[in-house]
Amino acid sequence: MTRVRYVLTAAWQGFSRNPVMSVASTLTVALMLLLFAFFVVTDRGLQSAIGLLESKVELVTYLSDDAKISQILDVKARIEKDPAVSRVDYVSKDDALRRLRELSANRADLGPIEEIGTNPLPASLEIKLAIAQESRRVADELRAEVGNGVITEVVDNPQVVDKLLTITRVLSVGGLVVLGMMLFVALFVIVNTIRIAVHARRDEIEIMQLVGATDRLVAAPFVIEGMLVGVFGAAIALAVLAVGSGPVTSTLVQFLDILPVSLGPNFLAQLALGVLGFALVMGAGGASISVRSQLSR
C-alpha cells in the first residue's frame, strides 16, 4: 500500500510541478483525440450510409406524374421479366410523401414537412436486382426509355455507393495520415514531458536504483503521469465532443443528404471508451518509451 501511495504521489507531483509542459501535452493529446473521434464518427457514418444504400433499392426509376397506371404496370411487368431483376416495387406519390414524413418525424433538423401543400415527390419503381453486376445494363436499358412519357429519370444507386466508397477511402487514408502525424506529435510531447519529469527526479531515481528498486517501480510514477496526461486529454476531448457533436452531426447529415444514418445505440459510449482507452495507451506508451530510454544504462 505504501508503495502504491508513493507511486501515485510521485506521479501527481510530476504532473503538477511542471504545469506548462503538462498542460501543453494534455492539450496536444486532447487535440489528437478530437481528430481521432471525428475520424471515427465520419468513417462510421459513411460506412452505415453505404450499408444502408447497399441493402436498399439498387435502381430507382422515377415516373412522370402524367403517366397512366396502365403504362406504369406495363413498364413494371417488362422490368420484372428481366432475369437479372428479382423484384420491382411500385412507390406511389403518397407512399413517397409518407416515407418522407416518417423520416422527418425522427429528425427535427429536416424542418416541418407539413407546411408543404402539394406533393412534390414523384412516384417511382424500386428495382432489386438478383444479379448485382447487371445493374448497369438494366439501368442503361431503362435510361433509353427516359422521355417516353413514363420514366423521367433512372437513379443508379450503385454509383452513389461507389462514390461513397471512394469518399470513404479518401477520408480513411487522409484521416489515417493526419491521425498518424498527430499521434507522432502527441507522443513526442508526452515523451518530452516525461523526460523533464525524469530529469527533475533523477536523484530519487539514482537512489531507488542503488537500493534495489525494480525498473518497473522506478518507471511506474512516470507511466502513471503519462496516463494522467491521457485521461485529462480525453476529458477535454470528450467535453468538446459533447458540446460540439450536435452541430457536427447536423452538418454531416446535410452533407449526406437525407439518408437516415444511424450510428447505433451504443456508439457514443463506445466512442467515449475508445477515446479514453486510446488516450491511456498513448500516455502510458509515450511515458514508457521516455523512461525506458533514460533508465537503460
Binding site: R3, Y6, I207, L210, V211, G212, L217, V218
Partner: protein, 226 residues
C-alpha cells in the same frame, strides 16, 4: 562472498581502469581498498553493484556472476550489496526517517516492517533522536550516518563505502569508521575505499592497494603504504 577473476575494465577511449584483478573477499571480512585518485577504487565498487560490467573476466557476488544477471535481477543484487558515497546522496526534501524508510518503500515493504526496520537502522547508526530532521539541518557526519542507515535498513550482505569520510573532519571520520567496524562485527562484509592513511594505519585491517588499475599489494593487517 566476492570473487574477481582476471577482471579488466577498459573504457571506450582505451584507458584501463582495472587490469588483471584477482581478488577474493570472504563473508564477514573488513577490507580497505586504498590507492590514489584514479587508481580504480570506484570502478571496483561499481562492478560489485553492477553499475558497470567488466570488459574481461568474472565478477562473482554471493555465488552469482553479475555479468550473467538479467536486467530484472540487478535490483536483487543491489539489495544484497549496500553502498554509501562521499556525497551521501540523501533526498533533501525528506527527513532522516523518510530517507531511510524510502529504501524499504521502493523495495516493496510497508506497515510494521517499514517502521520497525527503519527504527532499527536509525538506532544502529545512533540517529534515532534526529529522525525528524532534514538533511540540511544535520552535520556531515550525521548525513553520512543517515546514508549508512539507508543502506543497512536493507540488511545487506555487503556494505561498500566509497570514500565515506572524504568530506568529513578527523573526529567525525573516526565516528564513521567505528560505525563501519560495528556493522562488520554484526556480520556484514565491509569494503571501504579510502585514501585516508591515518585511519588505515590505525585500524590494521586487510589492505588491498590499487595503483593504475592493478593490485600491487594485498596484506592482512596492512598499512596504507608498504
Amino acid at each position: 562472498m566476492i570473487a574477481l577473476e582476471d577482471v579488466s575494465k577498459r573504457y571506450p577511449n582505451g584507458t584501463y581502469a582495472l587490469r588483471d584483478i584477482d581478488l577474493r573477499i570472504d563473508a564477514g571480512e573488513f577490507v580497505f581498498n586504498v590507492g590514489s585518485s584514479g587508481a580504480g577504487k570506484s570502478t571496483l565498487n561499481r562492478l560489485l553493484i553492477r553499475e558497470e560490467l567488466p570488459t574481461t573476466g568474472r565478477v562473482v557476488v554471493d555465488g552469482q556472476d553479475v555479468a550473467r544477471l538479467a536486467r530484472g535481477e540487478i535490483p536483487y543484487l543491489r539489495r544484497k550489496v549496500g553502498i554509501v558515497f562521499q556525497d551521501f546522496k540523501l533526498l533533501q526534501t525528506k527527513t532522516v526517517f523518510e530517507n531511510v524508510a524510502f529504501a524499504l518503500i521502493v523495495t516493496g515493504h510497508d506497515g510494521r516492517t517499514l517502521r520497525e526496520e527503519s527504527e532499527r537502522a536509525l538506532a544502529l547508526v545512533g540517529l534515532a533522536q534526529r529522525r525528524h530532521h532534514f538533511p540540511r539541518e544535520l552535520s556531515g557526519g550525521e548525513q553520512q550516518r543517515t546514508a549508512m542507515a539507508r543502506a543497512l535498513v536493507m540488511r545487506p550482505r555487503v556494505l561498500v563505502a566509497d570514500e565515506p569520510t572524504g568530506n568529513l573532519d578527523p573526529v567525525t571520520t573516526w565516528e564513521i569508521m567505528k560505525l563501519l567496524i560495528r556493522v562488520n562485527e554484526l556480520g556484514t562484509t565491509v569494503i571501504v575505499a579510502t585514501h585516508n592513511a591515518e585511519i588505515v594505519n590505525a585500524l590494521r585491517r586487510r589492505v588491498v592497494h590499487l595503483d593504475h588499475g592493478r593490485i600491487i599489494r594485498d596484506e592482512r593487517e596492512g598499512l596504507y603504504a608498504a
